[in-house]
């Protein structure tokens, strides 16, 4: 025989009555405070427990028993209904869940999200990407660029150079020349197949070989659909974070977007490496040395060290899908290697130069 005390709520009024429940011979007898009732044990429904909230037992007539006392030995608690409770209270499983979570989030971020973004990005229709590129180009033309001052014969030379490089690739691409304005020496890849190179960069690199290396790098961004993948990765990441911090206040959610900023920059570095690797391949195929990319990077680095002031984003080769939006992201602003290193979107230049040299061997 087992007995426990409980609060009895009849379901017809808010009145609370204190009863003693005696469990014996397959039956539960309730007594006290004007309550006299008897039920077969199988008529009782013990609700799944949650933390140390009281036990709730539903009675067949709509009444409810609430008790804080241990009833596990008195009443049959259905095992399946309390599975979640058992997991939530077992230290071993909590540790396991925590470890599993870290692994799942880590792997998801490292492989899952990039994989998903890549799968989707390569299915985005070309016209849609071209729309984004056209609008991005219009914005840049209005606010940043000035018309090119490269002489027509020079443009023609570079165009044929570009055509040599693109025939080695898959994606149809066009080249545009602009005066870089405050962006200075720079090159961009706009999704949808437009590569922009600034007059300043053409002047800085001097040799066609180096220019070819930079153009090949930008074509690499197009081939790998980096712009669209960036947008997708950030959106998926934001959704995951929103799910995790769903139960804290808006202030907490605000803070929780920090990981997105950090992973965004990590992804950027990954993309730069991919574009570099693509460039080595194109250079080799067209009979040039991958070392030229290293030389081009070194020239950019030298320029940023000497005259950094008038050229605020010297190493920034914007691969952006929404070039106009990415331009203003704070995480991309400080791009001088070393300073604020973890926020830098590009791998350290020395590292990339070394990689280019290795590829040349």
């Amino acid at each position: 025989m087992q007995r426990f005390e409980a609060d009895y709520f009849d379901g017809r009024s808010s009145g609370r009555r204190r009863v003693e429940v005696v469990v014996a011979a397959g039956r539960a007898v309730l007594r006290g405070d004007g309550v006299e009732a008897e039920y077969a044990l199988e008529e009782l429904r013990v609700l799944p427990r949650l933390g140390s909230t009281p036990h709730r037992i539903e009675l067949p007539d709509g009444a409810l028993l609430v008790t804080q006392q241990a009833i596990d030995h008195a009443l049959p608690v259905p095992r399946s209904s309390s599975l979640a409770h058992r997991l939530e209270t077992r230290v071993g499983f909590i540790v396991l869940a925590l470890a599993g979570l870290v692994v799942a989030v880590g792997l998801g971020y490292r492989y899952g999200v990039p994989w998903l973004a890549r799968e989707v990005a390569f299915r985005v229709p070309a016209e849609m990407e071209a729309d984004i590129a056209r609008e991005g180009m219009e914005t840049l033309d209005r606010h940043v660029f000035k018309p090119t001052s490269l002489p027509a014969p020079r443009q023609k030379e570079l165009r044929s150079l570009f055509t040599q490089l693109t025939t080695a690739g898959v994606v149809p691409a066009a080249i545009e020349f602009r005066d870089g304005g405050f962006l200075g020496a720079n090159a961009f890849a706009l999704p949808g197949g437009v590569v922009v190179i600034t007059d300043q960069l053409v002047a800085l690199l001097e040799e066609d070989g180096r220019i070819a290396a930079v153009l090949a790098h930008e074509i690499g961004h197009l081939e790998h659909r980096h712009g669209t993948r960036h947008i997708l990765q950030d959106s998926i990441g934001t959704l995951v974070i929103a799910a995790i911090v769903g139960d804290v206040s808006a202030v907490g959610s605000l803070v929780a977007t920090l990981p997105i900023v950090l992973t965004h920059t990590a992804n950027s570095r990954e993309f730069e490496r991919e574009a570099d690797t693509f460039a080595y391949g194109v250079m080799k195929k067209t009979g040039r040395s991958p070392r030229l990319l290293g030389e081009a990077l070194a020239a950019l680095e030298r320029q940023s060290e000497s005259g950094g002031q008038d050229c605020p984003v010297p190493l920034e080769k914007e691969e952006g899908g929404q070039a106009q939006a990415e331009e203003t992201k704070p995480a991309q602003r400080p791009s001088r290697a070393g300073q604020l290193g973890y926020l830098s979107t590009h791998p350290a230049t020395e590292e990339r130069i070394r990689a280019a040299d290795e590829a040349a061997r």
């Binding site: 609060d7 009024s13 609370r16 799942a104 202030v251």
Partner: protein, 398 residues
């Protein structure tokens, strides 16, 4: 930390007030029953981490079940007058609501990438359903909440929902009618007329926002019942305008402070271009966070106070809410810092202490005791009634 299982031989004894909270609650009004929150951070951590793990492993499907367990934990640990609340929501209904909301959100954001007009068109297409969704969602939450084995109820029609939120329709309508500055292709020169036209929807939203908050709260309470006893709310819309006017001044002040700070940073450190951006990068977000928390805590606490303090149940139960903006802001800011410092592991702790503070600031006064409320006979759905059986049950509060 105390253990209610050990402290109370039966649920009769109300759990002792767990006011180890950071902000001491205001003194209780005489003869009032205090609300208590007895959730424990350590215990909730287990529930939270298992919820999260299963949600991620099931690619989000479990999130509906997770939400029910979370709500049951917070309801079950909220006590007043010796009894706690319970939540009975059906996870499948919640899952349906989430899928619906996700689809609508995805369509809207995708369109937003292209043109505000297309996004506004989508919003207009969804809008006719919003009053209905609002009412359904209030009904879902009320019908699935119980106290002392009596369910809450909510009954209101489409027109009631529409009357509360109609100004929200003005915003997309204005965006469609007025000429807009396309973010993809801003014009070279912005005329004064275009400027006003572009800003008008935002101004309309700001002017009507307190009205919508007021009327939505009114809708939720005036059409709600506990058993058969009706709730009534007498808060006036002008009170909400007062709250949001002060919030607007706070926002303006914060904006001013941030511009001054930015000016000082770049003015003082103009010579060392190395330190100024770094300083700005850390200091400005910090100021932004504090300002955000203060404004959020201010409106949150004031609105809750106004709503509760003007709510009556059956004319004889009244509520007293004494949330303080400063205490709530302190909780929000320390929560944010703790969450960052712990890489998110203190999220359960933050949720628990916020709930505890909110409960500690709430009382109810009842003439004639809480024993005499009767179930609603017309739509008798006792707490044991398992199935709500409504195909259109959705829950939109994500």
């Amino acid at each position: 930390m105390h253990d209610i299982a050990a402290a109370a031989p039966s649920t009769q004894a109300a759990p002792p007030n767990a006011s180890s909270a950071d902000a001491a609650p205001a003194p209780a009004p005489p003869s009032a029953e205090p609300f208590h929150f007895t959730g424990k951070a350590g215990e909730y951590f287990g529930i939270w981490i298992v919820n999260l793990f299963l949600t991620i492993v099931t690619l989000g499907i479990y999130s509906a079940w997770a939400k029910v367990r979370k709500k049951r934990y917070f309801y079950g640990n909220t006590w007043v007058a010796g009894a706690n609340f319970d939540f009975h929501g059906n996870p499948v209904a919640i899952l349906k609501g989430r899928l619906l909301a996700f689809a609508a959100f995805a369509a809207y954001t995708l369109a937003g990438h292209y043109s505000p007009k297309v996004a506004a068109l989508i919003a207009l297409a969804i809008m006719p359903a919003v009053p209905w969704l609002l009412v359904r969602s209030f009904a879902f939450n009320a019908l699935n909440s119980s106290y002392r084995n009596l369910r809450f109820h909510f009954r209101a029609g489409y027109a009631d929902g529409l009357r509360a939120i109609w100004p929200l329709f003005l915003v997309p309508a204005l965006v469609l009618v007025l000429p807009q500055i396309e973010p993809q292709a801003p014009p070279k020169e912005i005329s004064a007329g275009l400027f006003v036209a572009a800003l008008l929807p935002a101004i309309v939203l700001a002017v009507f926002y307190p009205y919508v908050v007021s009327r939505t709260n009114r809708l939720r309470i005036d059409h709600g019942r506990y058993g058969s006893a009706p709730f009534a709310n007498s808060a006036r819309t002008i009170q909400f305008y007062g709250i949001y006017a002060i919030a607007a001044i706070l926002i303006f002040g914060a904006g001013l402070a941030m511009s001054v700070l930015a000016g000082v940073i770049f003015g003082f450190f103009a010579k060392s271009m190395e330190t100024a951006p770094v300083l700005a990068l850390w200091l400005l977000p910090a100021v932004y966070l504090v300002a955000f928390a203060v404004v959020f805590a201010f409106t949150r606490s004031r609105v809750a106070n106004v709503v509760f303090n003007h709510t009556r149940l059956a004319g004889r139960v009244r509520f007293t809410s004494k949330l303080r903006a400063r205490a709530l802001a302190r909780i929000y800011i320390t929560n944010a810092l703790a969450i960052v410092a712990s890489v998110g592991l203190l999220i359960p702790w933050a949720a628990i202490r916020t709930a505890r503070y909110r409960a500690d600031c709430l009382w109810l006064e009842c003439s004639g005791g809480l024993e005499a409320f009767a179930a609603d006979v017309a739509s008798h759905v006792s707490a044991t009634g398992e199935e709500m059986g409504d195909m259109f049950d959705v829950d939109l509060s994500l």
